[in-house]
Symmetry: C2
Subunit: 342 residues, 2 copies
């Protein structure tokens, strides 16, 4: 995204404080407002403005409309061995997801592996956040969420699948390898960012209303026909992740979420693994380093594209944006600031 | 694939018997020969000839060359809570993977979830087989393997990533939802099948030696530049799956496998979940059925492509091929038959 007339830079602390004050006015306790403000601000800091500052106004409006209930906490439904099912009670998605991640980590500490399946929760904003969080504590995390229907099955016209984002995170030295991806080639948030910036997608990302494959984000957003990653493979994975989310949580499916007209009451799965339980724990960083070093030896196909591992760019952006401030569309920041007085 | 001059149909029992006799001549015990013959024959029966009958001669040659040691069994290295690490001792990949799946299932029965991480094993042929196996016993399975390097990083020219196939399986009524996919848009096996049949791929599947994206399987196989699913996403997932496979097993990485020149000594992960531990166990089939029914309502984009769930076509092919015989390239069947007298 070009900085310039349309964008400004906001310092991390300022952004977090603005979020915090708005959340306090909207029924969040002091502690919850702070945690939630941190998550939205960190997502923005790490370059994922689509699920940070850009999404914040919609989050607040979901709170005001009663779809997200800031006073509610997740409660355990069933515990059995190393798996637990929790009911999110429609509390704030980011807070519920953080609690579920921490609980999966605790189970993993005891059993080596632990799963928390969370029903009736809300949009967690960004899968990667929970990956970085778990990895920061030294744990491996795999997790996914379902969403409302926003992607057609392969060979179909109508959006009946979610983009169901997934995260894989592995602790590595004092950082992490974190892969966070939706089943659409471009997430809706990303396509909205391109659209707001008036840019085309770098590759075809879906079909427009005339059924043509296109790199125009507006056409794809209008037709709601984003391309699944790997065509039939990503469409299949989306279906399987929804089936697993529903089976493991006992919560709502993509279809049931979609029927209500607002994306709330989601189903999410968190699986943590504690590397301390492994025989090779002492040499983990060395073996990961050898893989990364080999990976980085790949000669680039052209001078424009650097060969990076998942999460590497995030760490760079975090540094850069902490120093310079977070790039935000002026129009978005005005909308957010407006929420303070409303 | 067109049946006709180039192909014949072989009955399942005949194929299995031929495999069995060849394996007995190559150091397999009676029991191991039978189990291994079943896996190769079932893979073929279920339409995955690329990792069934087509691959059998290479498997036998790996046995003869000492890369696959039919007398060796996997042994436990470390057990801790619900996770176990095993050493595959370079035994036959399909047998090792079956044992690991069964062991993950046993751990899941006790703890709700169970993981087996298997080092020093060999090519498991087809991820889906173990998914069907676990689902047939009523368990959810997630698993993946690393491979030799056969796919470039995104933005790179040189193959330093594996296609690292992954499986997700969910029991459903008396069948299963099974998704089995490699990180390449088309697996090497599939591209070889197209090439042997003299056909183009249905979509561009990689780059040729001139760096052009192409649907010509020969050009892609020659350049070893298959397209990752979802471009950078599938490339990232491949890297993460290798890192996880190595971290969890303590075994060899894609790089280390590739350095030896022959694809052996792989690292694999099997995670099983026992739905019996879930509060909603009694209604699982109902909730999956509702998802599948909604999915099947998707209006097809054209008359050529049916909207199917992962595993649906497999069940159909199994029936059809049991009745009519398995379609095999004559050239392949002659090669297999030739192994009987060698």
């Amino acid at each position: 995204m070009k900085t310039g007339e349309m964008t400004i830079r906001i310092q991390f602390d300022e952004m977090k404080s603005v979020f915090n004050r708005i959340l306090l006015k909207n029924g969040f306790s002091v502690e919850k407002a702070e945690t939630c403000a941190v998550i939205f601000a960190v997502n923005s800091l790490e370059g994922v403005v689509s699920h940070g500052v850009n999404r914040f106004p919609r989050f607040v409006s979901n709170v005001r409309d009663g779809f997200v209930i800031p006073g509610n906490d997740p409660v355990p439904v069933k515990q059995s061995g190393a798996i637990e099912q929790w009911d999110g009670k429609l509390g704030p998605g980011p807070l519920n997801a953080l609690i579920a991640t921490d609980r999966a980590v605790e189970i993993a500490r005891e059993h080596g592996i632990g799963m928390v399946a969370l029903s009736n929760t809300n949009h967690w904003m960004r899968a990667g956040y929970y990956g970085w969080h778990a990895a920061g504590k030294g744990y491996i995390l795999m997790g996914w969420t379902n969403t409302d229907a926003n992607m057609p099955a392969w060979g179909a016209r109508e959006a009946r699948l979610g983009n169901n984002p997934m995260v894989f995170a592995v602790p590595y030295e004092n950082k992490a390898i974190v892969l966070d991806f939706a089943m659409t080639q471009f997430s809706y948030g990303k396509m909205e960012t391109y659209r707001m910036a008036g840019e085309k997608l770098p590759f075809p990302g879906g079909f427009n209303s005339s059924g043509e494959m296109t790199d125009d984000p507006s056409g794809i957003l209008e037709a709601r026909r984003p391309l699944p990653i790997g065509y039939w493979k990503g469409a299949g994975l989306s279906l399987v992740l929804d089936i697993l989310a529903v089976a493991l949580t006992g919560g709502r499916s993509v279809k049931e979420i979609t029927m209500t007209g607002t994306e709330y009451g989601l189903s999410q799965v968190f699986i943590a693994i504690d590397p301390n339980h492994l025989a090779n724990f002492a040499t983990l960083d060395d073996s990961i380093r050898r893989i990364i070093e080999d990976y980085k030896l790949s000669p680039p196909a052209d001078s424009k594209t650097a060969v990076r591992y998942p999460g590497e760019r995030i760490a760079e952006l975090r540094e850069e944006n902490l120093r310079k401030g977070i790039v935000v569309l002026k129009e978005v920041w005005e909308m957010v600031s407006g929420l303070e007085s409303y």
